[in-house]
Structures are given as C-alpha cells and as structure tokens.
C-alpha cells in the first residue's frame, strides 16, 4: 500500500535534468532527475546534493538517474521520527516503491548514502540489483578515526572532502564560484540533519559488521586513495564483510570521487553496472 501517491508538484527544467518536488513516502521530497533508460538511484552523502553533478550527467546517457534529497537534506522535509541511518533506510525503500521505480534497480550511495544502501541490502535483496558504495560510512576503521565533521566548519569539511580542492572543477563550480548565502544556510541545515543521524556512535554502526554477511547483492566498493574523511581501510572492511564484493580505488582522489574524478568514477561504475553479474 502506498503512503502517498507520487505527484509532481513543481517542475524546473535546466539543461539535461529536471528539479522537482514530489510527494513520496509521506514527505515532500526534492528530486533531481535526468537521462533515459533503466532507473539508477543515487543516495547522497552527509554533505547533501550540491546540484546536478557532471558524473550524474554522464551516467544519464545510459540511465534515468534519480537523485532525491534525503529527508532533512536540501529542500526535502524533515520528519521528527527519522533519527538514525536505519530509519532513513526504511524510508528509502518506501520512496523507491512510491515513485514507482522498477525493482530491483542499481544504487550508488556516497558516504552516508552508501551506509543507507548497505543497510537496505542487509534486509532485502529484491530492492537493489547492484550496490555501489562510494567512500561509505558505517564501519569503524581498523586504525584511526573518521574525520570529525562536528569539530569543524562546513567550509573545512568541503575542503577536507577533496584531495586537491584547487584542481577539482566540481569543487570550484559548487563550493566557490556558485556559492551563495542560501547555500550556506542549506549547508548548516544539512549539518543539523547529519548531527541528528550521525553524532553518536559517530559515522559507524556497531551492528552493521555482523549484518553485512547477509548481503546477497553484487557490490562494488569505490574509494578515493586520499580519502581524508573515511580512511580507505574502511573500503577493505566492506570488501571483506560483503560476500563477493569487489573494490576500485581511485588515485589522487578524496572522499567524493563522483566530484573529484568524475570521468574515472563514471567509467568504473558504468562498467560494473553494465556487466553481467
């Protein structure tokens, strides 16, 4: 039974994607969507969605790319009852159902979004056909710690998320040239939702390591070699814990490969998504 039927409320067309608000899974959701073909779901990181990334546009040549702002992030409503990543995981499954996405479909989850995708895969192998976990949160590093967003400012976080922010065109496009007062307010709001979900235990689950043994979905783990937010050792843990998972580590790349190395990222992901497996 659908909670609320998906209904398009507003429509803004810009280049090769549309930005809309839909009523889905009980909430008003900000949705960016572009391309054609089979659906591909993107679950964003704790930093939210800065816009229609080059990587999304590239992937949209082969897929209909769906990028919802998760509850509490971007323009999406924040319900009082979503307090954990697992709550968010439940909501994502309703969203997929309510907007009528054909299941199973592939998903790319970045950082917190990767954690959400992994949580869903531990419970149900009929929603996602393939998992791409990118710099995924959710596991304790073998050594060291995840970088602490909450001891730093949003601005410091954006810089920390790139191995070389000055050379990353997506960094300057979204976080320097295109940066506005509205973006700043939005970043603070995203940070508030991130604190709600991730404050303690910080960016990790004590139960996920055990649960990942049950994942039966083909999984690719993508990491930036210079990820300074979630140490690359977490990449190896994901690969060890998810049966059959493979990894791809991108060089000269930080926590957001889809923004820092869009070409390599898209090539790697497209190969995985279009392969038989």
């Amino acid at each position: 039974m659908k909670l609320v039927s998906a209904a398009i409320i507003a429509l803004v067309r810009e280049d090769d994607f549309t930005e809309t608000f839909v009523d889905a899974a009980g909430l008003r959701v900000q949705l960016r969507r572009g391309g054609s073909g089979a659906p591909l779901l993107i679950l964003h990181s704790e930093l939210g969605v800065p816009g229609w990334l080059r990587a999304y546009a590239e992937l949209a040549r082969d897929f209909t790319v769906w990028v919802p702002s998760l509850p509490g992030f971007g323009g999406s409503a924040r319900p009082d009852w979503i307090l954990s990543v697992r709550d968010l995981a439940a909501w994502v499954t309703w969203f997929v159902r309510d907007v009528g996405l054909q299941e199973p479909l592939p998903v790319i989850g970045s950082s917190m979004g990767g954690w959400i995708a992994a949580e869903i895969a531990t419970m149900n192998d009929r929603i996602f056909s393939k998992l791409v976990l990118v710099g995924a949160a959710g596991l304790q590093p073998d050594e060291g710690h995840a970088w602490d967003y909450f001891l730093h400012s949003s601005r410091e976080a954006f810089e920390q998320a790139f191995s070389d922010p000055q050379k990353a065109t997506e960094y300057s496009r979204f976080f320097v040239d295109g940066w506005t007062r509205e973006n700043e307010i939005q970043a603070e709001q995203n940070r508030e939702m991130a604190a709600r979900l991730l404050w303690k235990p910080y960016l990790r689950s004590h139960t996920l390591p055990g649960l990942l043994a049950g994942v039966a979905t083909p999984t690719l783990v993508v990491w930036g070699r210079e990820d300074a937010i979630i140490p690359p050792s977490v990449c190896d843990r994901y690969v060890q814990l998810i049966p059959g998972a493979t990894k791809s580590v991108l060089e000269r790349c930080g926590h957001l490969p889809e923004m820092e190395r869009p070409e390599e990222f898209v090539r790697t992901v497209r190969d995985f998504l279009t392969s038989r497996g």
Partner: protein, 402 residues
C-alpha cells in the same frame, strides 16, 4: 528594589600561556590540557574559596557559581562539587547555582540527588539554576546538541517531579527512562530550592522561564537588549496569567570598583584577560554546534545585536573594553560612580537579584579583597536603599546604547 546582591567569579585558570592560545587561535575545548598545572590550580582554588568565604562574611547575600568544561575560563567543571565545598566552608549566604547543565547528563536524577545533598549540607541555602550550557559543553561531553533543548526540558521535568512527587514512581520519557525514581536524598527546602534560569540571548529560554514562572537572570548582556528580554518575559507571563515582579528579574554585571575611577577602569581590564576577551576565543562551530541554537534564536534581534556589536558569549565578534563600558557589559568606578551606574541599570530593569561579577583574571588577592570591601561597605547598602525609577529607565532605554 534590589533585595539581594551576590558575588561571582568564573574562577579563571589564569596560569595558562596566552601566547600559545594566541598562536592556536582559540583557548578552549581543544586547547591542550598539558598547559594545566594542578599545583597552580590548588593555589588558585585556595585564593578563590577564601574570597568567596570573605564575601559571605562581610555583606554579600551569597555567591554565584557555574560550570564549564575543557576551558581555562573556569575552574568549575562540576558546579555541584564547588557548591558542596561552599556548603561546608561558608556559614551564611545563598549558594546560587547558575547552574547545572542539564542536557549533558545521562542521569539527571544524579543532579537531583546532589543538589538535595548540598541543600541539606548548607542548611537550605541553595538556589538552583538550570542551564543548557555553552555549545562547547555539548561537544566536550559528547551529547548531541540537536537534542539539547528537549533534553533540558525533560531533565528538568524529571528532577522537579522527583522533588515534588512521593517515590517510587516510574519515568519513561524520550531521553530518560527510570524503572524506579525514588531518590532517598530530598532537599531541605520544601518542596525544593528556588529555580532560576540564567541566559544570554535565546528567546526560547526567556519564554520557557516565564512559562514556568522562574526568575530569569540576564548574564551580563548589553543593557539595551535587557529590556527586550524582560518585555518578552512580561508578555509570556501575561499570557500565562501572572504578573512578574522584581523577584522574577536577576542581573549579572561585571563590576570593577576601586578607590578612584581611573584605578577601577584599569583594574576592569582584567575582565578581558583572555586574549583580550571576556570568555576567550572559540570558533563559531564550537560555540554553536549543529542544532544547538534554533533558527528563531539565530534570527532574533538579540542575536543580531550580539553578532553585530557586542561580545556576550565566547567566539562572538570582539568589542573593545571601551565599547563594553558603553553597553554596560562592564561598569567601573569608585563606589560613588558605581552606585550611579547601577542605579541606571536598576531604573531600566528593576531586578530583585543582582550579581556582581566582581573579580577576574590576574587581579591580585589584595585588590580583590579591597574591591569586595568597597562593595560591601558602600555600594551594596546604597543599592539596596534605591527605589527604581522605571519611568526614567523606560525613557532612557529608548536611547540606543553603543
């Protein structure tokens, strides 16, 4: 009319290297505790406790204490430990807790027990303030700042219920859960010590205090926002069906008093002993961790005033020592000058409870004692005899300060 005057010091740990703090650009939360010397702290404690005792013996109606963590600003990381010591080292005067930082406790019944113990130990001299804490306290104790206000509310409710409802009873709230609430230790003052709510900028806290009919104590704010705070308090009180009196208004003011105006002015610079500020330097994202401050509070005129022109809390933009005099965030002078300035404050907000934040920084023990003498012999008697002229205050408050 002013009924009671209390003394306050942050009990600063003044022995840390300011150069190192300047180099790092901050002096709390993450400022390395290798710069803390227990031996120096022992000496400083001895001095501060002697002064507080002296205050209660010579004419203050009591002393105010508070709590900060990871911070040389204050040597009181547990307000209840400080209060317990005062309960047995002082013989008279109120011990004003401003206050217990409720949201940071996972077991607020511990606060109920400790305050009850101290009330008994002190012979019923406790005034019990509750605070949300600076943003840094949430980080230092790692309690999600997003939940700060709700945790404050629920901790308060369970403590008050523990003091007013016979136990045992059960508590199942959102943040706290008890199979058995039955603290054996109950306060001497029945049903419980007076509750005060101190605050700086947040309109929600003012509203909350008024809704509970608790006195609101303005913590050394610029004088021109105080009237706004108490106007809001009065509005909410009217909606709740009660008329606030001076008893609902408290005011903490930095006071530097010496034999001459010039001497007092120089001595008052000690309030800015921490990198030229009163509270030290803090990045905004420590001061306001995510969700700590509501969007309403961020958008309030008080907050705009704070960001724009005044330093009330750590990390705010710096206002010069001179500027702080203009906004009445510090007053200095010989006793006569101080009395005149305090009369102006009393005209504006007519508090029953005044707190003199009376010593800070590297001020010597001798200077502090002399200053205390001037306060108790000359200032306090004059202030207590003064009838507020609210009309004059209302007229004068229309003139924007600073």
């Amino acid at each position: 009319m002013v009924k009671h005057v209390y003394f306050f010091t942050e009990m600063g740990y003044t022995a840390y290297p300011q150069d190192e703090a300047r180099r790092r650009g901050y002096n709390n939360l993450m400022f390395p505790n290798q710069h803390f010397s227990p031996e120096r702290a022992r000496e400083l404690y001895a001095m501060y406790f002697d002064e507080l005792l002296y205050c209660t013996e010579t004419g203050f109606d009591g002393v105010m204490i508070n709590e900060h963590h990871n911070n040389p600003l204050s040597m009181m990381p547990s307000v209840n430990v400080i209060g317990a010591v005062l309960a047995r080292t002082t013989r008279k005067g109120r011990i004003v807790f401003l206050g217990n930082v409720l949201p940071i406790h996972d077991n607020p019944l511990r606060v109920a027990e400790e305050v009850a113990m101290i009330d008994i130990l002190s012979g019923g001299r406790v005034i019990c303030g509750f605070v949300r804490g600076l943003g840094q306290e949430s980080i230092a104790t790692n309690v999600n700042p997003v939940d700060n206000r709700e945790r404050f509310d629920e901790a308060h409710n369970v403590i008050i219920k523990a003091w007013t409802t016979p136990g045992p009873f059960r508590w199942e709230g959102r943040y706290f859960e008890y199979r058995v609430v039955n603290p054996w230790m109950r306060p001497l003052q029945q049903p419980h010590p007076a509750i005060w709510i101190p605050g700086v900028v947040s309109p929600e806290s003012v509203r909350w205090a008024a809704e509970h009919q608790y006195p609101y104590v303005a913590l050394a704010p610029p004088l021109h926002v105080v009237d706004e705070i108490y106007d809001l308090y009065d509005d909410v009180a009217a909606k709740c069906g009660f008329t606030p009196t001076a008893d609902h208004r408290g005011y903490v003011i930095r006071v530097s008093v010496a034999d001459t105006d010039e001497e007092a002015y120089e001595q008052g610079r000690q309030f800015y002993w921490q990198l030229g500020t009163s509270f030290g330097i803090t990045p905004l994202h420590w001061l306001q961790p995510p969700g700590y401050m509501s969007r309403e509070a961020k958008g309030s005129r008080r907050e705009a005033a704070r960001r724009g022109s005044v330093t009330i809390t750590p990390g705010g933009p710096l206002l010069s020592y001179e500027g702080m005099h203009e906004t009445y965030q510090v007053i200095s002078g010989n006793p006569e000058t101080i009395i005149r300035k305090l009369q102006h404050i009393i005209d504006v907000c007519d508090p029953a409870h005044l707190v003199f934040w009376g010593r800070e920084g590297l001020m010597s023990h001798e200077a502090a004692v002399h200053s205390i003498d001037l306060m108790t012999r000359e200032v306090i008697p004059a202030i207590k005899a003064y009838q507020a002229d609210r009309e004059k205050g209302r007229h004068e408050r229309l003139v924007p300060a600073g």
